[in-house]
C-alpha cells in the first residue's frame, strides 16, 4: 500500500482546522499556509500522477480492511488526472484570491478553501459509493461557506437557493444508496460491479431505479437539464474566485457519472443495459441549447459566463453519454479544457468588474488597460466557444469525431455546432459592448484626469484609486496562467490525447479494476474470518474465564501477560 494515495485528503484536512482555529486573526500567516498547502498538493498530485501513469490500479485500504468490508481509496489514471486538475486549478484560484484581496473580504476563506479541496480530492479518490456521498457532503458544506463569502443581498439569496437545492440532492443521493444497497447488499464500487453483472434482467427493476436515482443526483451536480437551473444563479452571484473554483464542482458530477455508470452500470451489463446513455444523451443536448441561448440572452457578464459553463457541461456530457472508450477520451480532453476555460473567464471577469460599476453589459467609459482586458477576454472567449487555436477547438473536434453512430450523429453534431455558433455570437456581442463600444461612448467628466493618477501611486489601496487602478502583474498572472493551460493543452494535444486514451481504456477495463480492488475472494475471506473467530472463542473458553465475549479474549492477551511478568520480576 502506497500511503501517498491518502495524502490529498489528509493534507487539506489537517491544514483547514489549523488555519481556521489557530490563524484566523492573522491573514498573512493563513495566506502563507494556504498557499504552501496548495503547492504541496500540486506536488503530491504530480507524484500520484506519475505513480498512476504505469497503468496499474493502486488501492489504499483504510484501516487495512479488505475491500468489500472496509473502505478503499482507488488511484488509477482517471482519479490521478482529476486530483492533478483540482490542485492546479486550486493553485491558480488561490493566487487570484490573494492577489485581488478577495480572501480578506469575509472570514475563513482559506479554511473553507482547504476543506473544499479535501472534499473534491476525496470524491475523486474513493472507491466506495457511500464514502463518495460523505465526500460530496464535505465539499458541499465548504462550498456553502465559500458561496456566501463576503455577503451581500443577491449573494445571500443565491446562496440560500444553492444550499436548499444541494440538500435536496443529498437526500436523493441517500435514497439512491438505500435502494442500491437493498438491491445488491454492497456499496463498494468494485463489489457492486461484480454483483450487478450477476443480476438477471428479470430481477433488475430495483437496480435500474437505483441507477437512475444516482444519475439524477450526479446530474444535479453536473448541472444537466432538467436540474441545471441552480447553476446560473449560483455562479453569477458567487465571488469570482469561488466561481472559478466551482468550475471543478460540476466536473465532480461528471466524474461520478463517468465512474459509476461505466464500472457499475456499464453499457455491457444486462441489468441496466444502455439505459444511462439513453437518458443522458437528450439531457445533454437540451443542456447545450439552454447554455447557448443563455449566453445569447444574458444582460450581465457573470450570468453570461455561467451559461457558457452550462453549455460546456452539455458538450462534455454528450460525449460521456456515448459510453465508448473513444467518446470518453474526447470527454476527458474536453473536461480538462472546459475547467480551465471557465476558470480563466471568471478570473478575467473579476478583474474587469472590479474596475467598472457593475457587470451589466452596456457601454461605459473604458477601464484602464482596456486593451489588455479585451485581449484576455478575447482569448478566454475563443477558448470557451471552441475556436482555434486554443484547446476548445480540438476538444469539440474530438467530441464530434467520437459521435458518429447513426442515431446520434445528427442530433449531436447539430447541437454542438449550433451551440458553438450561438456562444460565439453571445461572446462577440458581450466583448464588443464591454471593450469596444466603451471607447465610442463619450467619456464623462472624471475620466481623463483620473486615469493617469493611479500610475503615480498604484500601491495606495484606497478604494477610489483601487477602482481605477491598473491591474498588477500579480493580479493578471492567474487568469493568464489559466489561459496558458489552455494553450499548453492545445500544443501538447498529442501526448495529452494518448494519455486520455489510456485512461479511458483503463476505465472500460472493468475486470482489472475489480480484480485490483477485490484482491481476495469475498466468500473465502468470510470463511477465513469465521474460522479465525471460532478459533479465538475456543481459546477464550479454554482459559476458563467464563466470559463468552471477545473482550475476555483480548483481556487475557493484553493484561494477563504483563501482570505475570511484573509478578515474576518482583519475585526475583
Amino acid at each position: 500500500m502506497n500511503h501517498w494515495i491518502i495524502a490529498p485528503v489528509i493534507l487539506p484536512a489537517l491544514l483547514a482546522p489549523l488555519i481556521g482555529y489557530v490563524m484566523r486573526h492573522d491573514m498573512p500567516l493563513s495566506r502563507v499556509f494556504s498557499m504552501a498547502g496548495t503547492v504541496a498538493l500540486v506536488a503530491i498530485a504530480l507524484g500520484l500522477f506519475g505513480i498512476a501513469a504505469d497503468g496499474t490500479t493502486h488501492v489504499y485500504r483504510l484501516g487495512d480492511w479488505p475491500a468489500p468490508f472496509g473502505i478503499v481509496l482507488v488511484l488509477d489514471r482517471l482519479s490521478a488526472l482529476m486530483v492533478l486538475l483540482t490542485s492546479v486549478l486550486a493553485l491558480i484560484v488561490l493566487m487570484h484570491a490573494i492577489a485581488t484581496g478577495w480572501d480578506a473580504r469575509g472570514r475563513h476563506f482559506h479554511a473553507l478553501f482547504q476543506f473544499q479541496l479535501m472534499g473534491i480530492c476525496g470524491a475523486f479518490l474513493t472507491g466506495d459509493i457511500f464514502n463518495l456521498f460523505v465526500f460530496f457532503e464535505v465539499l458541499l458544506i465548504a462550498s456553502y461557506g465559500l458561496m456566501i463569502h463576503a455577503g451581500g443581498r443577491a449573494r445571500m439569496r443565491a446562496g440560500l437557493q444553492y444550499v436548499v437545492i444541494n440538500l435536496a440532492g443529498s437526500t436523493l443521493f441517500l435514497f439512491a444508496l438505500g435502494t442500491l444497497y437493498a438491491g445488491t447488499g454492497t456499496l463498494n464500487i468494485a463489489d457492486l460491479a461484480v454483483r450487478l453483472a450477476e443480476i438477471p434482467e428479470s430481477e433488475s427493476a430495483i437496480v435500474r431505479v437505483a441507477a437512475m436515482l444516482l444519475m439524477i443526483v450526479f446530474a444535479v451536480k453536473a448541472a444537466l437539464f432538467p436540474v441545471q437551473f441552480w447553476l446560473p444563479g449560483t455562479y453569477a452571484n458567487a465571488p469570482a474566485p469561488v466561481a472559478a473554483l466551482f468550475a471543478i464542482m460540476t466536473k465532480v458530477g461528471a466524474y461520478a457519472i463517468i465512474r459509476v455508470h461505466t464500472i457499475v452500470f456499464g453499457p455491457d451489463i444486462a441489468a441496466t443495459e444502455g439505459m444511462s446513455g439513453l437518458w443522458l444523451f437528450p439531457a445533454a443536448i437540451v443542456t447545450i441549447a439552454v447554455g447557448a441561448f443563455g449566453v445569447l440572452g444574458a444582460r450581465r457578464l457573470m450570468p453570461l459566463i455561467a451559461f457558457s459553463v452550462l453549455g460546456s457541461m452539455g458538450t462534455l456530457m454528450i460525449a460521456v453519454s456515448a459510453f465508448t472508450p473513444e467518446a470518453t477520451t474526447a470527454a476527458l480532453y474536453y473536461l480538462v479544457h472546459s475547467t480551465f476555460a471557465a476558470a480563466a473567464l471568471f478570473l478575467m471577469a473579476d478583474l474587469v468588474i472590479t474596475r467598472r460599476e457593475d457587470d451589466v453589459l452596456s457601454g461605459m467609459p473604458p477601464t484602464v488597460q482596456n486593451g489588455l482586458f479585451a485581449a484576455l477576454f478575447f482569448a478566454a472567449a475563443i477558448g470557451m466557444a471552441g475556436m482555434p487555436p486554443l484547446s476548445g477547438f480540438l476538444g469539440k473536434l474530438l467530441v464530434l469525431d467520437a459521435l458518429r453512430a447513426p442515431g446520434e450523429i445528427g442530433w449531436a453534431w447539430t447541437a454542438v455546432l449550433a451551440g458553438s455558433l450561438l456562444t460565439i455570437v453571445g461572446f462577440a456581442r458581450a466583448g464588443s459592448t464591454l471593450f469596444w463600444k466603451s471607447t465610442a461612448v463619450a467619456i464623462p467628466e472624471p475620466g481623463p484626469e483620473e486615469v493617469p493618477a493611479p500610475e503615480e501611486g498604484p500601491h495606495e489601496k484606497t478604494p477610489s484609486i483601487a477602482h481605477h487602478a491598473p491591474v498588477t502583474a500579480m493580479e493578471a498572472a492567474p487568469s493568464m496562467a489559466a489561459l496558458a493551460a489552455l494553450a499548453a493543452l492545445a500544443a501538447l494535444a498529442g501526448p495529452a490525447a494518448s494519455y486520455f486514451e489510456a485512461t479511458s481504456a483503463q476505465l472500460f477495463d472493468r475486470s482489472s479494476y475489480v480484480d485490483s480492488v477485490l484482491t481476495e475472494d469475498p466468500a473465502a475471506l468470510l470463511e477465513a474470518v469465521k474460522a479465525d473467530d471460532g478459533h479465538g472463542s475456543e481459546e477464550g473458553g479454554s482459559d476458563g474465564d467464563g466470559e463468552p465475549t471477545g473482550d475476555g479474549e483480548y483481556g487475557v492477551d493484553d493484561h494477563g501477560e504483563p501482570v505475570g511478568d511484573a509478578a515474576t520480576e518482583e519475585g526475583h
Binding site: 457511500f130 460523505v134 457532503e137 458544506i141 456553502y144 456566501i148 455577503g151 451581500g152 443581498r153 443577491a154 445571500m156 439569496r157 443565491a158 446562496g159 440560500l160 437557493q161 444550499v163 436548499v164 440538500l167 435536496a168 443529498s170 437526500t171 441517500l174 435514497f175 444508496l177 438505500g178 435502494t179 444497497y181 437493498a182 447488499g185 456499496l187 444563479g233 473467530d533 472463542s537 463468552p548 471477545g550
Partner: protein
C-alpha cells in the same frame, strides 16, 4: 410492519416535498428535515426489516442476525443531515437579515423585495 414503515416513509417524503415547494425559508427547512427523516427510515429498512434480532454476527450457533451496515449508514446520515440543517438555518437567517425576505426563489432584480417594501 412493511406496510407501516412504507406508509411512514411515503407520508414523510410527501410532506417534505410539499413543504420544500412552498419556497419560503422556514417551511423549506422543515421540509428538508422531514425528507431526511424519511431517508433515514428508508436506509434503515434497506437491510430488510427484522424484529428482535441483534445487529451482530452470531458467534455461537446459527442464530440469525440483522444487517448491521444500514444502521451504521443511518448513523452517518443522521450526523450529516443534522450538521447540514444547522448550516441551512444559519444561511437562511443570514439571507433573511440581509435581504428582508424569506423567499427561496430568485426573481428578476427589483421584483419581489421592492414590491413588498412598497406594499408596507
Amino acid at each position: 410492519m412493511e406496510l407501516l414503515v412504507a406508509t411512514a416513509i411515503g407520508a414523510l417524503t410527501a410532506g417534505g416535498v410539499y413543504l420544500i415547494l412552498r419556497l419560503r425559508a422556514f417551511p423549506v427547512i422543515i421540509g428538508l428535515a422531514l425528507l431526511s427523516y424519511a431517508v433515514n427510515v428508508f436506509i434503515f429498512s434497506s437491510g430488510r426489516l427484522a424484529i428482535n434480532l441483534p445487529p451482530i454476527l452470531a458467534k455461537y450457533g446459527d442464530a440469525s442476525y440483522t444487517d448491521p451496515l444500514p444502521q451504521a449508514l443511518v448513523l452517518t446520515a443522521i450526523v450529516i443531515s443534522f450538521g447540514m440543517t444547522a448550516v441551512l438555518v444559519m444561511v437562511a437567517l443570514g439571507s433573511y437579515l440581509e435581504t428582508g425576505t424569506d423567499e427561496v426563489d430568485i426573481h428578476p432584480a427589483g421584483h419581489d423585495a421592492s414590491n413588498e417594501d412598497a406594499a408596507q
